[in-house]
């Protein structure tokens, strides 16, 4: 999604005069065009994310619309207090952009993964998270963030390719119908469901994508599905703690849309202390490939 993001930021420049793009020295072979087009409004703040986020808060206080880009882990976790105090507390329109949410940086290893970025930011007041699924979501999300006066986080990743396409980006999107269980997920990890080698299993799944957090009210169509099928499976490339599954659990209980069973598929971390590509880590966590088939079979036959 990085190329689409850069393109969307270029397009945005034609419509807004208040943009400033701050990068934490990342974007090699991706943001050169942006740097040229933004000129003095492209600021490479170096490998110094704490300063970058506070500088962005200062820029926002000056009436500008700063975007701060880094690898997801570095964009969120190193400057967490700056995000909390300088951005969220003051409700300033700083737009954080983290690339490679989840295991996106694959073999680069655990320091480069972000398995707690969403959970960390969910705890903060005024923060709204955007979780695109496919490449076409990115320009819509960038425009929505530019129009959103609150602090935002954009979790970028390799875009999912969903056969037959998906509806335009929204807080809730139904991707497909299915007979016996409702899967609710966030981000491109949902692609694993479309690559299942077992068509009959796939047919059983109704799939929904969550596009923003905090969750918006559960759509009535989804509530009806959950009451009918009674089985919900959540799916996220993020630790279970403070992730989508926990957010949904709360939403279900407080809105009285109570499934009979709730199972969470999530990033397990590094259970074998071995490393690999994003796909390899997804499989180890049961989020893709045969491990996902086997998890789903167990859940659906239970």
């Amino acid at each position: 999604m990085r190329a689409e993001f850069a393109e969307a930021m270029l397009q945005l420049l034609g419509r807004r005069k208040d943009l400033v793009f701050v990068t934490g020295d990342l974007g090699y072979l991706a943001f050169e065009g942006l740097a040229q087009a933004y000129g003095e409004r492209f600021v490479n703040a170096g490998v110094a994310e704490q300063n970058a986020v506070s500088v962005a808060a200062g820029l926002a206080r000056a009436g500008l619309l700063p975007w701060v880009y880094s690898i997801a882990a570095f964009a969120v976790l190193r400057p967490f207090e700056q995000i909390r105090d300088d951005v969220c507390l003051h409700e300033l329109p700083v737009k954080l952009v983290g690339n490679g949410g989840g295991y996106g940086y694959g073999i680069m290893g655990p320091t480069h993964h972000a398995l707690e970025d969403v959970g960390a930011l969910r705890a903060l007041p005024n923060m709204k998270l955007y979780l695109p699924l496919v490449a076409d979501d990115v320009p819509l999300v960038v425009n929505a963030m530019a129009a959103d006066p609150s602090p935002n986080y954009l979790r970028l990743n390799v875009a999912a390719e969903i056969p037959g396409g998906v509806p335009p980006f929204a807080a809730w999107r139904k991707l497909k119908s299915g007979r016996s269980a409702v899967v609710i997920g966030m981000g491109p990890v949902l692609q694993g469901l479309y690559q299942l080698s077992t068509p009959e299993l796939f047919d059983e799944l109704e799939i929904w994508s969550v596009g923003t957090l905090p969750l918006e009210a559960i759509p009535s169509e989804l509530a009806t599905s959950i009451r009918e099928k009674r089985r919900v499976i959540t799916m996220e490339e993020h630790y279970r703690s403070c992730g989508l599954g926990e957010a949904l659990s709360h939403a279900f209980l407080t809105s009285r849309v109570i499934p009979q069973s709730l199972s969470c598929l999530y990033a397990a971390g590094y259970p074998s202390a071995r490393y690999g590509s994003q796909r390899w880590h997804q499989e180890e966590s049961g989020l893709a490939g045969w491990p996902l088939v086997s998890r789903l079979e167990t859940l659906l036959r239970a």
Partner: protein, 258 residues
Amino acid sequence: MSKRAHAGHIGGALSCAELLVLLKFAWMSDDDALLLSKGHAVAVLYSLLAEVDVLTPSQIDSYRADGTELPAHPPFNTFEEISFATGSLGHGLSLSAGMALGARLKGLSRRFFCVTSDGELDAGSVWEAALFIAHHKLDNLVWLIDRNGIQGIGRTEEIMALEPLDAKLRAFGFHVVVTGGHDFPSLLAARDESTRQLDTHGRPVAIIANTVKGNGISQLENTVDSHYLPLGDEQYERGLDELTRAHRARLDEYRNAR
């Protein structure tokens, strides 16, 4: 107000009192902005805001009381004069840098003054900001360091040595002005030298103001206790008396000089 609130952080407030007075009454224009990065010295800031009628006497009386608008570190989004809630040390210089860069990008001539403590310089983020300010040659920003030599539970040079601080700042690319932090003739000279530097050389300026923690109250002066502890009754009476006398002497000096 500090006595009524049984408030500590008196030493670090008294050490930067003249610095803030200089900024507010002898340096800053209406467009300029002050950010008190050492938010624990907020008693001085509130006093200044009362002096210019931004805060009312009853607001001052509510300092630190339940339900007050004036907590022990500056609040957020409450007063236009307080652009950021500070208190967690090591944020203010970066925030000032962002506002200064923002003003430059918008073509505004606004200037930004950031007052940090010296213990605060232990925080790595301060040095990230210093690199950033020097790299971007932010000549609409002045960094003032309240060099009182004492931090939370001891002397800076024993806890985390900062010296040679002026050389460090010069190496980062700042024009460094070292001044006494309590007498106005020195502070005014530091102001003039800083303004000259900013206007003619386009280099960022850092002022190291050598100050005394708890300045003006002899029992507090240069003591670690003055960082956290509130004033006792006797300390308060004697301290107030000392401050009043010093203030009168200063006024006389000023009148005689005219």
